[in-house]
């Protein structure tokens, strides 16, 4: 949902990206209208439009005149690629820093990761919080 964590249009863009990555919004599928976003999240329609247009500018969404907004072919792969790049900075680095702070040794950390990878069923993996912040800046 919308919170104070940054400009609202970036949050809207991130929410749409999440749905594309998760498959909830399939490629060539139609995206809700900016008015639908505005009503659902109770935000100004112009702000919602700005979020959607950010993704249009990046080629993730495209417009069909008079019909609406759709997910571009290849959008999911491109988003996945970007998220994988961000994964290190957003998750791996903080993990290592925190481990260091707690005096967890390299061996212990690796053992924990291995155990987590072995023990975690697909259920648990899905439950991890995928609502990540967008790994880039708001460019204006």
């Amino acid at each position: 949902m919308i919170d104070d964590s940054g400009p609202i249009f970036l949050q809207i863009a991130a929410l749409i990206e999440n749905d594309i990555v998760s498959g909830a919004l399939p490629e060539e599928g139609q995206v809700p209208s900016t008015n639908e976003f505005a009503q659902f999240y109770r935000i100004n329609p112009a702000t919602a439009a700005k979020g959607v247009n950010t993704l249009v500018d990046e080629g993730i969404l495209y417009k069909r005149r008079g019909i609406g907004m759709f997910v571009a072919a290849g959008a999911r792969d491109r988003l996945l690629g970007r998220r994988r790049d961000d994964f290190r900075a957003q998750f791996v680095q903080p993990l290592c820093m925190e481990a260091d702070k707690l005096g967890i040794s390299r061996g212990e950390l690796l053992a924990m990761l291995t155990a987590a990878l072995d023990g975690a069923g697909p259920e648990d993996a899905l439950n991890t919080d995928v609502v990540s912040t967008r790994g880039r800046q708001h460019h204006e």
């Binding site: 104070d4 400009p7 008015n35 505005a38 109770r42 935000i43 112009a46």
Partner: protein, 314 residues
Amino acid sequence: MSEDVVRVTDLTRRYKDVTALDTISLTFRKDRIYGLLGRNGAGKTTLMSVLTAQGFPSDGTVEVFGEDPYENEAVLRRLCFIRESQKYPDNFTPAQAFRAASLFFEGWDQEFALRLAEDFQLPQKRQIKKLSRGQLSAVGIIIGLASRAELTFFDEPYLGLDAVARHLFYDHLVRDYAEHPRTVVLSSHLIDEVANLLEHVVVIDRGRIIMNDDAEAVRGSAVTVSGPAGVVASFVSGREVLFEERLMNTASVSVRAQLSVAERREAAELGLTLGQVSLQQLVVHASLAHSGGGMAASQAAMSAFEAEFTEVSR
């Protein structure tokens, strides 16, 4: 380019020895939602009164739809002003007030008004003077929304309304605005509640405009940096500090900054946490700074101020 609905140039409004508005210039563009924010007595209501021809400028010019609004029926029919304490003829019922509004406003949607009355659980056959404070506010909100006036002012329209009813108002405002775009000026103390509805923010303090900016630009103009006090201090050095808090060795400092990707990464590597500053905090800070506070407002003053801003009239 979008068309200007309101154009104010060097507007001054004096009462005997008080200058309520001091050489204000601003424009409101077509089909946007504006927040008109500021402390009590800042001049918000005076400005809206002058724009709706219920008061005159002492100096300067006011144009609404390109004309002087004063005694200008053609202009006045296109705008709607819902005051904080809107008065209605004594024996009117809400149904009669809606009927009167339907005769005045060309865009009036009676069916929408009835739907709103039902949502707000407003007894339509009861005399207005016998309504509760909240029900009276609901009458104003319904007229403001159902009039669909091209320029609609809501001046603290929710006196006596509980949180549920206020959110009903916000929901209807967003939905109806999306379907019937128009210019809306919303004056409110409840900045956090309305922040996401606004496209543009105008803040007035002691008769002057101290902020006039795109809401998203304001929101993105500052960042809060938290972490070990020494690390925070060196990270924010050289930046304008808006406010700061400190507890033992942990500091949380809000600075005016738009951090680059590299700066964000650096902050993360230093073990600092970054957070956003809310629109309300930024508005409060701007008002405090204008009132002649120090460089960085102390947290106590900040809290007191914020309390004043958010105080819900009952």
